[in-house]
């Protein structure tokens, strides 16, 4: 079986699995922890080993590998998603801070609410938010990191918040980065005695490549899988094709395929970016069952 066959069969598996996932009800809350923080994360599908500024939301061990700030926005038909993340080096440590906010509607007080509401709307105002602080360092050739987060969910006048913890480890092997992370360790959200949900606790493993070139292009990819408490495995693959015609200028197109975590999500996403020196403008289109979402971000390295 050649490499192309492998890729096609893998993609087919994801599509088949995604159908069964869509049939499941949403199980975890808040929703903001289950959508990609930025366009780049959305299209690379797996961020467990990604060298991104927003690694604080993927694998805290990778915080500080890319230093800078990213601000992103996602527009659903009836919801808005905002992201801000920043990372820096501080002596032997890398530190990161980040926040995400999702403003949406629901069709009741029940948690977790249906992710269809992001596109279809509802009769109650809802929002979820997460703030995070991460610390990472290198220890015996491995990157290790932890992020403490505070997550909050509101539906109308009801609200609850909970602390949570992410732990991660990563290592470079040749031109690959391997990463493992445990995300969202913490108590659930309890809006009322009848409305509560677990955080989306995940064990995720992934690999990203860097430094590969094909002709004039830079080619990088990511692959990974995460496991939820109910045993559902969510595989994800992403591919990035970059081209830098001149020092400081670069363009990239990306495409990702994944088994969705939310029932209203679809497997495919694609996007691109244009960078000038330290600034990059990113875009992604994510398929959702009732329409697509547009994501944009500005990244300053």
């Amino acid at each position: 079986m050649n490499r192309a066959d492998c890729c096609l069969r893998g993609a087919a598996c994801v599509l088949v699995l995604s159908t069964s996932a869509a049939a499941q009800a949403d199980r975890y809350a808040p929703t903001v922890l289950q959508i990609a923080p930025t366009p780049r994360a959305a299209t690379l599908a797996s961020t467990t080993a990604a060298r991104d500024i927003e690694a604080i939301f993927g694998n805290p061990a990778m915080v500080g590998v890319a230093v800078g700030t990213v601000a992103g926005m996602g527009r659903f038909d009836h919801a808005t998603h905002l992201t801000l993340a920043s990372s820096a080096s501080l002596g032997p440590f890398n530190v990161g801070i980040g926040a995400q906010y999702l403003d949406a509607f629901t069709q009741g007080f029940e948690l977790p609410y249906s992710s269809y509401a992001l596109q279809d709307g509802g009769d109650r105002q809802a929002s979820s938010a997460v703030g995070a602080f991460a610390l990472a360092m290198t220890f015996r050739g491995n990157r290790v990191g932890a992020a403490v987060k505070y997550v909050e969910q509101r539906v109308d006048a009801l609200r609850d918040g909970a602390p949570s913890l992410d732990l991660g480890i990563a290592r470079d092997v040749s031109r690959y980065t391997l990463g493992v992370a445990v995300q969202n360790i913490g108590a659930g959200i309890h809006l009322s005695p009848n409305s509560s949900a677990q955080l989306p606790l995940r064990v995720a493993a992934g690999v990203t490549s860097y430094g590969w070139t094909v002709g004039p292009f830079d080619v990088n990819g990511s692959a990974g899988a995460s496991v939820l408490p109910d045993g559902i495995v969510l595989p994800a693959f992403g591919l990035e094709l970059g081209y830098a015609p001149l020092e400081g200028y670069s363009f990239a197109v990306r495409a990702g395929i994944k088994r969705p975590e939310l029932r209203a999500q679809q497997p495919l996403s694609f996007g691109g970016s244009a960078a000038l020196d330290r600034f990059a403008l990113e875009y992604a289109y994510e398929e959702w069952i009732n329409g697509g979402t547009h994501r944009v971000a500005l990244r300053v390295r």
Partner: protein, 640 residues
């Protein structure tokens, strides 16, 4: 589509247009006066090749199955180290650590009985898996055909992500020489008796260029300077070194710059070097001293449009890695063939002159204009010094601008706008060449409404005392030697002299003297011809002048743009041009042709008279006298 059409011109605007300085080679290289045969033409010897080495190399078949002579390993672990995982990864890739470095080489040698002079060449730092040692085959084929043995030394295992290892690179060269002594002495060796161990040259590129200087220094030491428990027993008769685009100061023995004395030295470097973009080798050139009365010389060629990698056919034009085209402007480079042709000419001529005593090649190193038929058509700046040179003023000793380097020398200025001694900078920001020079500026125009009114030409002079002239034997067979480079600065007009014959008795207080206008940079490039006269005066007051331009090219600063992106060079460098001083050698007898009554045995003064360019400035260094051999002067520029 419209947006794309807008974006493309915007991107194109960020790519700098190709900017090359006006090429003066049609004039400068218009003549060919040297009578020696072309050194880049293959000789009569059939060329043979062989490999020597460990015979166990796991990455290269030529050092495994093809070795004709097996060699042992050497322990360089005290000279090179890569800690941590990176070191383990290297050991895994190579199959050995720095404690078992192989002595591998690929050899081109002439078929014949010999003995032949031996030349080792070593590459510099590069991707360790993209093996660098085959990239000098073009020199191997040429030199072997002309009766030299060339061995390209394998130091790929010292390449990659490694630093502070240039002592190991130099030390390895000496370990190779030990093996060569064995090859020459061993019965049954294919090289038995073919090697003349009294005629040895070392040649290195990039980090290898520094390594040859380190090897030259280590060769005469009994102990490793940074750990005296390591003893040396080399003492080879290394007569010549060639440094190609070298670095300098990556290794500092005992935390000092590498000292080097009494050796022939050739240094070549490109103006468009995208890796070692500063002409670092100039600092090593300055440090080489001739102290033993031997017959040595050192020479520099700064080659316009040459890059870093094309001296090695493996490296090519990727000075900044595989994606160099994104970063570097490759459009203006000399072709690989032209660049290597230059290397063939100068390196072969240098080795012929210094190892084979073919002195007919020596004029090339004093004044490259004599070889217009050999050199690729581009611009060269050359430095030169031979062992009879005595410095009257090198501006290193004190802060008195009127004293020279030895008692008996007085320096003076007449009507100068600028006169100071200061460090010579490199083009890289905040870096210097670690030596001082005199900075001189003039403007002969008198300030005022009449823009044609000129004053007496400004001059800078060096007065020579009688006793020093006798001690140095400065006479008719001497030559004046100095190096200078024009700068961009142009001082403002000269203030008119005050008329001291008129006294204003009513004035209560003399008006304060007006400061001369500060030097200014013209808004556009100054295209006026830059030249000056060099005058000598004898004890009777007889004088004669020659134009400087008869003794070498005189150029305004030549800018080089290395990067592709507009504005990147200005951001990276403090100056767009590297300040490389051109050396001029003027035999005293040339002045006698102009003034036959001049007493060349009693020269008392040398003057640089700024009468050929109304305003300008220059940097002047290493003024002195030499009793240069006539061999260097054959086909002199003044004979043209």
């Amino acid at each position: 589509m419209r947006r794309i059409l807008i974006l493309l011109p915007a991107l194109a605007a960020c790519v700098a247009p190709l900017k090359l300085a006006k090429d003066d080679s049609p004039v400068v290289l218009s003549k060919h006066l040297i009578t020696a045969p072309d050194p880049a033409v293959r000789g009569a010897f059939p060329v043979r090749t062989l490999y020597y080495g460990s015979g166990t190399d796991k990455n290269r078949v030529v050092f495994k199955d093809s070795v004709a002579i097996k060699t042992g390993t050497v322990d360089g672990s005290k000279l090179a180290d890569v800690p941590g995982q990176a070191g383990k990864d290297r050991t895994k890739y190579w199959g050995f650590g720095f404690n078992k470095m192989p002595v591998n080489g690929r050899v081109w040698y002439p078929q014949g009985t010999g003995p032949f002079p031996l030349v080792l060449v070593v590459h510099g730092n590069h991707n360790m898996k993209d093996f660098s040692d085959p990239g000098y085959a073009y020199l191997g084929q040429l030199l072997a055909s002309r009766g030299f043995i060339l061995a390209s030394v394998d130091e790929n295992f010292l390449n990659g992500g490694i630093s502070r290892e240039n002592d190991a690179r130099g030390w390895m060269l000496l370990q190779h020489l030990k093996q060569w002594r064995r090859f020459n002495d061993s019965t049954g060796s294919p090289l038995q008796g073919k090697v003349d161990m009294n005629r040895i040259a070392l040649m290195g590129h990039s980090r290898g260029g520094e390594a040859v200087a380190v090897a030259g220094a280590f060769n005469r030491l009994k102990h490793y300077p940074d750990d005296a428990t390591i003893t040396f027993d080399f003492g080879f008769n290394i007569r010549s070194l060639v440094a190609i685009a070298p670095v300098d100061g990556q290794y500092r023995p005992s935390d000092k710059p590498t000292p080097l004395n009494n050796i022939n030295y050739l240094l070549i470097h490109g103006s468009h070097d995208g890796d070692v973009s500063t002409f670092s080798g100039l600092t090593q050139y300055e440090r080489i001293k001739f102290t033993d009365g031997g017959d040595w010389f050192k020479s520099v060629f700064f080659v316009y449009r040459a890059n870093h990698g094309q001296w090695n056919s493996v490296w090519g034009n990727k000075d900044s890695g595989p994606r160099s085209g994104r970063v570097l402007d490759l459009r203006g480079l000399l072709s690989p063939e032209e660049q290597r042709r230059f290397a063939e000419v100068t390196i072969t001529a240098f080795l012929e002159a210094t190892l084979n005593s073919k002195r007919e090649y020596l004029p090339l190193f004093r004044d490259h204009r004599v070889a217009g038929g050999w050199l690729p058509k581009t611009m060269y700046t050359t430095r030169f010094e031979e062992s009879t040179f005595k410095a009257a003023a090198d501006f290193e000793d004190d802060v008195d601008v009127t004293t020279g380097s030895v008692p008996g020398i007085r320096l003076g200025g007449d009507s100068l706008a600028t006169w100071k001694e200061a460090m010579v900078p490199f083009r890289s920001r905040n870096s210097t060449q670690f030596h001082n020079a005199a900075w001189i500026g003039w403007n002969n125009r008198i300030a005022g409404d009449d823009t044609t009114k000129m004053g007496r030409p400004a001059a800078y002079e060096i007065a020579l005392g009688d006793s020093l002239r006798s001690a140095w034997r400065v006479d008719a067979s001497s030559a004046l030697v100095f190096s200078l480079a024009a700068t961009d600065a142009k001082p403002g007009p000269r203030q008119p002299a005050r008329d001291t014959t008129k006294k204003d008795s009513t004035a209560k207080k003399a008006a304060p003297a007006r400061r001369p206008p500060p030097p200014r940079r013209p808004s556009g490039p100054d295209t006026t011809v830059f030249d000056l006269s060099v005058e000598i005066v004898d004890a009777a007051g007889t004088s004669a002048r020659v134009p400087l331009s008869a003794y070498g090219p005189v150029r305004r600063p030549v800018e080089s743009y290395i990067y592709r992106r507009s504005g990147r060079d200005k951001l990276r460098f403090g100056s767009l041009s590297e300040m490389v001083l051109q050396t001029y050698v003027i035999p005293f007898n040339d002045w006698r042709r102009i003034a036959p009554t001049l007493d060349l045995d009693r020269v008392v003064k040398v003057r640089l008279v700024f009468d050929r360019t109304p305003a300008g400035s220059l940097v002047l260094d290493n003024i002195g006298f030499s009793r240069i051999s006539r061999d260097f002067l054959i086909a002199t520029g003044s004979d043209q």
